[in-house]
């Protein structure tokens, strides 16, 4: 039975969610999360902490070993997603951009890829085409519309993957390591796009270990530890300034390097810390 949440502003809720990979290896342990409507939310953690697994669960692709998930107060489970009505309701509203764009793109051309979602939603062909061309214009993909996805660059593939989700006009966008493997210009484009989408009312959930992205997005942050638990949640500034926390979850580390003849020891994060200790 559906459980309507008292707080309607929450769009995604996770209650004591755990997941065991192949029934043996712990991937997530006792995760409690509330994500609000229109929020920018970042899930950060070192490699192998369970960020992707968490996003896949939020998208109803895999199901928790224990605990419960809710979308707008409706439970997300294997049973509920078998219901035709709920499946459409949920998939129409929650879009997932995979880390590896290659696995996500399966239509013959870029245009087909963008049309796949709207046509699945039974949107008429004229409107579906309008959506596809508008998204192509926004993402600057018009020149590659007739190309197959394997003939695109990494940045173009990522844009097509995002576009293929956007044409379905979801309310929630789940991004898995969105800046991974992209050049600085495309990364910058992506951040601007995320801001624009958020301003348009979309809820963004980003799984990343790129702390500069978290800083740029100024998102609410949940930090995953190597024990696969939520270590802390808070604002971007609060989390990024907590060096002890970031050290403990292996998102930053201390290293020594040289400036000419002088050796320095400092926290290294591939981000904005460069405070010399000695």
């Amino acid at each position: 039975m559906d459980r309507m949440r008292s707080d309607l502003e929450k769009i995604l809720c996770l209650e004591r969610v755990s997941y065991n990979y192949l029934d043996t290896i712990c991937a997530l342990s006792d995760i409690d999360l509330d994500i609000g409507v229109g929020e920018r939310f970042a899930i950060i953690g070192a490699n192998g902490t369970g960020k992707t697994t968490l996003l896949q669960m939020m998208n109803g692709l895999i199901y928790p070993s224990s605990g419960r998930l809710f979308f707008k107060g409706h439970p997300i489970s294997k049973q509920t997603l078998k219901d035709k009505g709920f499946l459409r309701f949920f998939r129409e509203r929650v879009g997932f951009v995979f880390q590896d764009s290659d696995v996500q793109l399966f239509c013959p051309t870029v245009l087909d890829e963008l049309l796949y979602g709207p046509l699945q939603l039974d949107i008429n062909e004229r409107e579906a085409l309008d959506r596809a061309f508008e998204v192509m214009e926004m993402l600057r993909l018009e020149n590659v519309k007739d190309r197959p996805s394997y003939m695109l660059s990494g940045g173009e593939k990522k844009k097509v993957a995002i576009g293929s989700v956007l044409t379905m006009n979801p309310e929630v966008l789940l991004f898995d390591e969105p800046t991974n493997g992209l050049d600085p210009k495309t990364q910058c484009f992506l951040v601007e796009l995320m801001f624009a989408l958020n301003e348009a009312g979309k809820t963004l959930v980003v799984a990343t270990h790129d702390l500069s992205l978290v800083d740029e997005l100024q998102a609410k942050v949940a930090v995953l530890s190597e024990e696969h638990r939520i270590e802390k949640t808070g604002g971007a500034s609060e989390i990024l300034e907590d060096e002890d926390l970031l050290l403990s979850v292996n998102l930053i580390h201390e290293h020594i390097h040289r400036h000419g003849e002088i050796a320095h020891k400092h926290i290294h994060s591939h981000y904005l810390f460069h405070r010399h200790k000695e």
């Binding site: 043996t24 459409r88 995979f98 309008d130 508008e134 796009l193 624009a196 979309k202």
Partner: protein, 309 residues
């Protein structure tokens, strides 16, 4: 960027609720099958990675296990009566118990594969138009017998005693061979198997192919699973069988392309790291007294199984 956002993205999706009782979604068998197969490969991989657990067979030297596997598989093929195959099955079952394997999961997989590659493949030979003999179950009676070229279709079609015996023999042989192979695979870390094969003078080219396949098959299973999840995340209605088939064909082409690229990259990386056609392994351990004792005991059991029945 904000001023370039298409107007349709500014509208929220239709109603806040959904129509209930619209029925259940059925996922086409072919799609489910692909995902299931990828899962089985991944699970198999993880189980062999967990072969460091303590148990009887885990402690035995890999060379002893490989020789035991070869010896027993030869015996399985040589036996000509069902009872001997059952004795071998019981022996392997006891070894699996002693090795503390998850017996239910272990035999579930073996019986499933045995059913497909043993029973179902051999089933037609149970009929009297292939294996003649004493009819035990009559299925169809035709008005007369028919003869086409070298084939003869008798008037009464059914299962013969000799035919069903042959089917059961083949099924038991497949099950026993699979049980032995899985027992060795699940109780031996993969590098140890490679070392054992190297010691047993298996050609390096063959070992390199095995090693690369072993690593690649996991990546392959992961890619297949991710592709399935990506499709699932954009599936808003019940997929049609035709769509499922088209998707699978397209994805097969994708995997082929990717495999080809990966193959070239891996080969380039191997050349870059000084690859020659020799496989150099290290860390060969000496056989202990325990290994020799277990080896002779297993050999003795093999001889006993060869002798009885």
């Amino acid at each position: 960027m904000a001023n370039r956002i298409p107007p349709f993205l500014l509208n929220t999706s239709s109603p806040g609720s959904f129509k209930k009782d619209m029925g259940k979604v059925k996922i086409p068998f072919i799609e489910k099958g692909i995902n299931y197969l990828a899962g089985v490969i991944k699970k198999g991989y993880a189980q062999s990675e967990l072969s460091f657990q303590y148990g009887f067979f885990q402690k035995v030297d890999a060379r002893v296990k490989i020789l035991f596997l070869l010896f027993l598989i030869i015996i399985v093929s040589m036996k000509k009566d069902l009872l001997s195959e059952i004795y071998i099955w019981i022996f392997v079952f006891l070894l699996s118990l002693l090795s503390r394997l998850n017996i239910v999961a272990f035999y579930k997989k073996i019986f499933f594969l045995g059913l497909i590659f043993g029973f179902l493949i051999a089933l037609p030979s149970a009929f009297n138009f292939i294996t003649r003999g004493e009819m035990i179950i009559s299925i169809v009676k035709l008005p007369r017998s028919y003869t086409f070229w070298v084939y003869h279709l008798p008037a009464e079609i059914g299962i013969t005693k000799e035919g069903i015996y042959g089917v059961l023999m083949l099924t038991m042989r497949v099950i026993n061979s699979l049980s032995l192979s899985f027992l060795v695979l699940y109780t031996t870390p993969f590098p140890e198997i490679l070392r054992a094969l190297k010691v047993l003078r298996v050609p390096d080219t063959f070992l390199i192919i095995i090693a690369l396949c072993y690593k690649y098959i996991f990546l392959f299973a992961k890619t297949v699973e991710n592709m399935y999840l990506a499709k699932k995340s954009r599936t808003v209605r019940e997929p049609k069988n035709r769509e499922a088939r088209e998707w699978i064909i397209e994805r097969m082409a994708f995997i082929f392309r990717r495999t080809q690229l990966r193959c070239e990259e891996v080969y380039g990386a191997m050349i870059g790291r000084g690859f020659s056609d020799r496989l150099k392994l290290y860390g060969f351990r000496k056989m202990g007294i325990r290994d020799w004792c277990v080896g002779f005991s297993l050999f003795g059991m093999g001889v006993l199984l060869l002798w009885i029945g």
